[in-house]
Symmetry: C2
Subunit: 307 residues, 2 copies
Amino acid sequence: MRATVLSGGIGGARFLRGVTAVVKPGDVTVIGNVGDDIEVLGLHVSPDLDSILYALAGISDEERGWGRADESWNALEAVSDLGGESWFRLGDRDIGLHLVRTELLRSGMRLSEITGRLAAALGLGCALLPATDDPLRTFVETEAGTFAFQEWFVARGHRDEVDAVHYTGAHNARPAPGVLDAIEAADAIVIAPSNPYVSIGPIVAVEEIRAALEGRRSPCIAVSPLIGGRAVKGPADRMLARLAGGTGPAAVAGCYAGLIDALVIDEADAPAEVPGIRTVVAKTLMVDDHARRRLAHAVLDAAAAVA
Amino acid sequence: MRATVLSGGIGGARFLRGVTAVVKPGDVTVIGNVGDDIEVLGLHVSPDLDSILYALAGISDEERGWGRADESWNALEAVSDLGGESWFRLGDRDIGLHLVRTELLRSGMRLSEITGRLAAALGLGCALLPATDDPLRTFVETEAGTFAFQEWFVARGHRDEVDAVHYTGAHNARPAPGVLDAIEAADAIVIAPSNPYVSIGPIVAVEEIRAALEGRRSPCIAVSPLIGGRAVKGPADRMLARLAGGTGPAAVAGCYAGLIDALVIDEADAPAEVPGIRTVVAKTLMVDDHARRRLAHAVLDAAAAVA
């Protein structure tokens, strides 16, 4: 069973730990969001790709919920002391990765190739591909103005309600090498429990990726990131309420219109009927390895059932 | 008494702690070497300027002899784990400074202005100027080949005997803003106890700096970096033996021909006569604050005596 998973950061990364525990990792390809990538202190940071790298390498900080375990913060403290930009939290070990990535980008290597190198160095068994090697960035429109994603999310603590989301560069972005093949070759395509607007939205904003999903020959199953209409973490529920008019399964499924055959929802959101697709009920809160594996099984079973 | 000091890294930085203890720091201008600057992991590192910054800010690691106190090494460990370039030892706090410097350089700011900012942020009382804002780099010729300074010094552990030293870019390099004024306005010009070839050489290879020193109206006093013909640390003695034919005061003074009026030598090298300049005997080993101040006093007294 070859699985191709579209994923954002933390929630997606946790889910992927489940997927790679129940499917042979070599049969898993992850297509990661780069819409929230940011150039900070001259470093190219890819927060979602890194959350996946760290989670699958088993070196993520589970308590903090992001970044690396056993992290220190001395570089950023020095930056701050010297009057540099320190609003974006970068740990020392994390900076090490960004230095390597940025240096390779400057040497002309593509993000996808670099990501493959990092994944190999960290011992990942699955393939991790950025959705695109081209500059594609998420911007949010709010009453306070239009902000680059991280400015809104981190610097402003995503306090502003979002009226619209834009993906600059999406029109010209080509899928990274391997992305279309992975969609084509998959026995199951899965959309991880990530924010539809700012995690999955930028991926499916790449026209050829969207077209490949629309023309899929294997089932595509999305996992709702909401439990009882609430986000486990982050602004997904507020964004859905405002942009989709609700936080129920139909609102989530509406974000993926034409792209999915089934939506896995939590027990807290059942029963639910969504016209045109199946809904599958599961326990979606990923509190531990067991819960992650159980959810992955439920999703892949749903894919088999749809197929 | 306005003092302008030409300085390399560690030895010079220690000496400067003495100078700024006996002269009002606001009356001291340091002209620092940039010949051993290096671009590593995309970071612009200025080892000699940083040694001075850290020493005068009181945050240098005295035991290790270079870098910052209370340092951690997690970023470089991550770089190494990921297959990145890790031969050049960069601590986390140190990387913080390099990130700030590099980002400002990329924004178009000159190294001299950035160095002034860093010095102010670290609370330095004196002025610190790079010799030049232009790219000037030290290369050494050896039997094993020609190497960029840090490649020879760090990567190869300065094991190769040096047949010649080159300063690429020196011909086109202009003194950084303030450098010529500082030489002109000084009551005493001092060459710190630094390696004549790789610390002071790159500074005086800037033609207008050399001309300003040659045309000086105030005395210029050099402090020999050798004690009993031996370097306290580093390859200065081996370089002098091979390139100047000896490690006595005359060999050191020969490196500064036309540039100095007196040479301060250690008791271990006395008595010594050097044609054309005075020799002044002092205890030059800077074991503690007292020794640093005593040496600074001896040097400034010598300047007053020559004047």
